[in-house]
Symmetry: C2
Subunit: 351 residues, 2 copies
Amino acid sequence: MSTTINIAVIAGDGIGREVTVQAQKALDAAIAFEDASIAYRDFTLGADHYLETGELLHDATLEAIAESDAILFGAVGGVPGDPRLESVSIERSLLLRLRFAFDQYVNLRPARIHPGIGSVLGPDARADFVIVREGTEGAYSGSGGLVRGGTAQAIATEVSVNTAFGVERVLRYAFDLARTRDKRLTVVHKNNVLVHSGALWAQVQADVSAEYPDVTVDYLHVDAATIHLVQHPERFDVIVTDNLFGDILTDLAGAITGGIGLAASGNINPDDRFPSMFEPVHGSAPDIAGKQLADPTAAILSAAMLLDHVGLPVAGQRIRGAVDLDIEHRQDVGIRSTDQIGDSIAARIAS
Amino acid sequence: MSTTINIAVIAGDGIGREVTVQAQKALDAAIAFEDASIAYRDFTLGADHYLETGELLHDATLEAIAESDAILFGAVGGVPGDPRLESVSIERSLLLRLRFAFDQYVNLRPARIHPGIGSVLGPDARADFVIVREGTEGAYSGSGGLVRGGTAQAIATEVSVNTAFGVERVLRYAFDLARTRDKRLTVVHKNNVLVHSGALWAQVQADVSAEYPDVTVDYLHVDAATIHLVQHPERFDVIVTDNLFGDILTDLAGAITGGIGLAASGNINPDDRFPSMFEPVHGSAPDIAGKQLADPTAAILSAAMLLDHVGLPVAGQRIRGAVDLDIEHRQDVGIRSTDQIGDSIAARIAS
Ligand SMILES: CC(C)[C@H](C(=O)O)[C@@H](O)C(=O)O
Ligand SMILES: CC(C)[C@H](C(=O)O)[C@@H](O)C(=O)O
């Protein structure tokens, strides 16, 4: 009796659609070695879908997605400045709604300088760390408002909401992850200025770390963390931080480890009450969409994380191995289209 | 009749004290060419002072500092983890109090890869831009609180407060600055997620930019801005952003333009109702304090910004010229002490 993995596919907008096809090719090639099969269900969502139908994300759609074992997500977002999108936030109404509704409180973003690929930090730079970004609270709560909007007296507030519950569970996840790695955890916040949320993070860090005496913990302010990331990225093993700092640091981490075209992520619901969602860190990049210019590697590596998550780590590793080889031989092959990269990785997986 | 510039000196803690002495040497050397003199008044403040006396910043001290023409600031902050400092924030009670009390709403942080010094981005990297960081609102307001502290149900909020008044004045400053440079302005925020404050920033940007048709404006999300900073730093001319994003991006900018040992800043009150304050971007670095290991260049370049601000741009330029020469010859001279670097720059200014 073989298992079927039900994957909800939300390819989205722009290059999201191009790269997701390649991720599916990789999944298909990798699953062929397993006693398992994949059933895809496509959900057409995103800025284009909203402009055509007015749907951002209906409750019924959310419920249908909830039935899947995992979600393969491309990217969403329309052309910047499109006046028809001015009054909606596709990001909030779709992507963040999924993360929040499915309680994906661990946003896992590995960063590794692959042997054989250049880093902007030079040929000798080394990095192999994972950022654990909180995914369901902080400044992403949407709380806040506008008073006297449109006048010279306007005041807008934006409220970062942080709970002991939310901070503790993500810290525990990060400590557990550090235990499977080099046992070094760096907590990043800005507790010298954000004293309310910072004190909560510090308190929870102190409490939880007492239970993990085998893990070495240090703390960095977010501003200092950016310096270390570009000057000594090799010093990091696991980084844990809040939603907003995690957003910023993971893009920076992507940029220094071969570029955002390689940066994969998983929005994980660790208790498996809801499906987890796997997506490249990059956006929909409308400026290069439809031109076969996007690198599908980040989407493919996200698919590998999906396989790990559904209990097929050997298949996940097969994809990562193929990607490593592909990256190693990039210098030799010149510029390739999105399709060509996807085909070449799929072929390596199959062989 | 010659002018006297009254400078309040807050050397602070750790390496703040070592580098401030060097900045004063540079000021003294540069002022000698002007029909002006400098009168210093020292204010002993910071973590050490707090531990000795219990003073963070008395109102009377603040009033005395307010009488100065400008403030030369080193760095403040005790040893991380010192239990005696656990319940106070030297940063909030001293540094941020000064910025807020003196309405220093423009935090000006130039970033330039100096010819002849290495960048972590490699020998060909080029960058010459200025970050205008809002200095008196945003997430730095201190608003927020803690409910059910110390329990598993604790909730901490942190409120970013943004006003049309505050955003408009800093944007205007940035537009005016862009006019004196390459006329390109990049506004950085995260308006796809922080929809309340982001919409306010976008609205003010649209309004103000209409008055500056000669300045090319673009917008970047803060996460994307970090990517551009490490991949294409040469694309920036003037960046304007909020207090928290500015904190993060200026450390990153320092790290890629020769290191935080060169990063200068001015906390400017443009209407001159209050003194402006000039400080290196780096902190008090207690781990290397007292060892003559700190690079005083950032403090010296901050002193040059002070001279510009008090109407002595030729003297400011004299310091910058000397620093440029010093940096250019760094390879030849090997490792120098804080004093030696300060002496060598002062000598170049004098000659
Ligand atoms: C698109 C946007 C809402 C999203 C975020 O801010 O989380 C993205 O930047 C990311 O990092 O996944
Ligand atoms: C010390 C700290 C309060 C300060 C800030 O966050 O503004 C520092 O990081 C800076 O950038 O000047």
